[in-house]
Symmetry: D3
Subunit: 145 residues, 6 copies
């Protein structure tokens, strides 16, 4: 997604990533790394008794995997600027395969040789169901600056 | 932070987490788990030539560590609802120790026995410098429902 | 468990932790970290021919997970002092969910502002079966010292 | 160490393992796997203000590394039976290199073709300083049973 | 395998390692460590539509696991010298248990107190099917040098 | 590197990857995953007394990192076919930053809609020193088949 200079984006353009299957190992590894062992993620007995009836992936695991599916080109990307209106709308279960769909929704030229691309991001499952939405903002270089 | 029922929060109340030092191993482990090997995080030679002059932690690593420093009580927390206005305002370097400060900014009773606590979250370094801000929204149970 | 000052414990008091499911990933990750690839833990073909008929968790993985389910309060806990009479009494299989039950069995005031709490620890499965027993000794501060 | 049948041990015999350096990554990885983020292990600022003046390895990381330095021969070892009198006598710091020294202290023939070897275990640093002691008990097969 | 001095090998001698089951966690962990998230390894939906119909282990994971199943004796092994004619001849699936079979095929005395042992290496599954072949070359010390 | 169809390669064409710094955490994580704890990689005291005077990265870690720096396009890459004449010519130390340089050396049309691209691969350090060489063979689709 973020492989071309700021000048080259148009509002409305779209992009789709490759996929990655969320495994039990990913959930264990994310609980490990983050320190978030909330039992809905890591206690199968507890999870059985929730409305989900099984363990679900951490929201931030979903976001982290999504970030790894994007492409960031050195020399072009200056910084991950921020995110707006993040919502986790459906659970991600063990075995679900996620991909990311992006649509450019705003372009803000900062007048200093850089600009912010804002893109609506949907993380989706194999059957097209959306699990997380947000607006991602990335600071990019312009060329010819 | 999220260890009491929705009814028991007041706007303006604050909370502070323990700390955790961000190590080189954390950055390698997060690049590994997410698949995000952007060279600013994982190529020391590249990083030397950026304005930061050294490798910096991924923004989502900072958020993930912050989430692990919060406390989520089973039976009270229903879901991580979402986030607003996330900004990465300063870099986190290898060796920085992060903690989280929260201030409750909004309480939305959903009338169904649950409510959303919105808290302004600042992730800060050892010297008090803020590295990331956002508004975190968590869905909690009410008691006596 | 270890969230209050030495003065506040009584012999006979009990405590129960949250749970955590032991996954195949945990066993692989513990074999990795420890370097203990004994085939009963990591070779499914070998394990099939043992009395257990399947892979089992390392005893020290069980203990390590148990330690993470305890609560240690900074400022109160001085050190993990030691352990007595550790026995692995039943195997832990992939998919078992463990929790810890503690009973205070001895209190030794050291006369220097600290004391040792000795607790009988049982690590148990979802159906209540005990997999490991020991006496855990933790050095805690007293208040008012 | 545990590479020969029960019949072949003598009280007083000794064994020495290879070494392994405890790195910052090991401590982070053990905190991750166990869920034990006690700040003495993982918060450098907190650790500076303790008598140790720096982060120290978890006691169970020391034991887990020690277990990986032992040798367990399939077909001979039946089970890790248990441990007695475990004490953490000195801190292990980042960069310390540990090895294990064992002395056989008891042999208990169980009369069923197996026996328990009890060995005094010392985990030592590069300069010979002991960090952990215990008596390890391993259940082994006899030959000619 | 590499536990004796160069002088003690004979062409034609063979050796067989212990086994290790390749789990989904191993594939996720290797994708993580290497950064190779090719979807045949980590996207279950993609893999379903390939001739393999399921995810397969990375070739270099197979080799890395094989290297861990060999034995390298300090003081004897000088260096992993290289490899010839590596071929991945069959896929390794999740749940397959691998072991290594070696046959010494060449001995090159270097006249400086060291020699190169070349061994034909086959990594095989539980049912004897070969998944990878190569010639491994290891530089060893001679005794009496 | 492997992002275009077999038809589009020419002998002599070259490609250069991004970089990745090899950290102490990478060596620990690779020892963990592979099970290869040879002390030259993981025992700092032992390593001090070798000609290298410090720990060095495993050869297969170097290769695994290199594989992750390559690009493999789904739909184009059929399989990692094999490798020839792998040599580890210099040690990789903690802190070295590696990248990969490739030169196409052979093209073998298999007459079945696929072909094998053979490329001379050099893994190099930040100052241009080569640490590993090999010929990598990848099976690719042709277009218009």
């Amino acid at each position: 997604m973020f492989t071309k200079y700021f000048n080259d984006y148009k509002i409305g353009e779209t992009w789709r990533s490759k996929g990655r299957t969320i495994t039990e190992a990913d959930i264990v590894n994310f609980a490990s790394l983050s320190g978030d062992w909330y039992p809905l993620h890591t206690d199968a007995e507890y999870a059985k008794q929730t409305p989900f009836q099984q363990r679900i992936a951490h929201g931030l695991l979903v976001l982290s995997v999504a970030s790894g599916l994007l492409l960031f080109e050195p020399g072009i990307v200056v910084a991950f600027y921020g995110m707006e209106h993040l919502r986790f709308v459906k659970p991600t279960f063990i075995g679900d395969t996620l991909h990311v769909e992006m649509t450019v929704v705003n372009l803000e030229d900062r007048g200093d040789g850089t600009g912010i691309v804002a893109a609506h991001q949907e993380v989706k499952k194999q059957m097209g169901e959306t699990v997380a939405i947000s607006v991602v903002k990335v600071l990019l270089n312009k060329y010819g600056k």
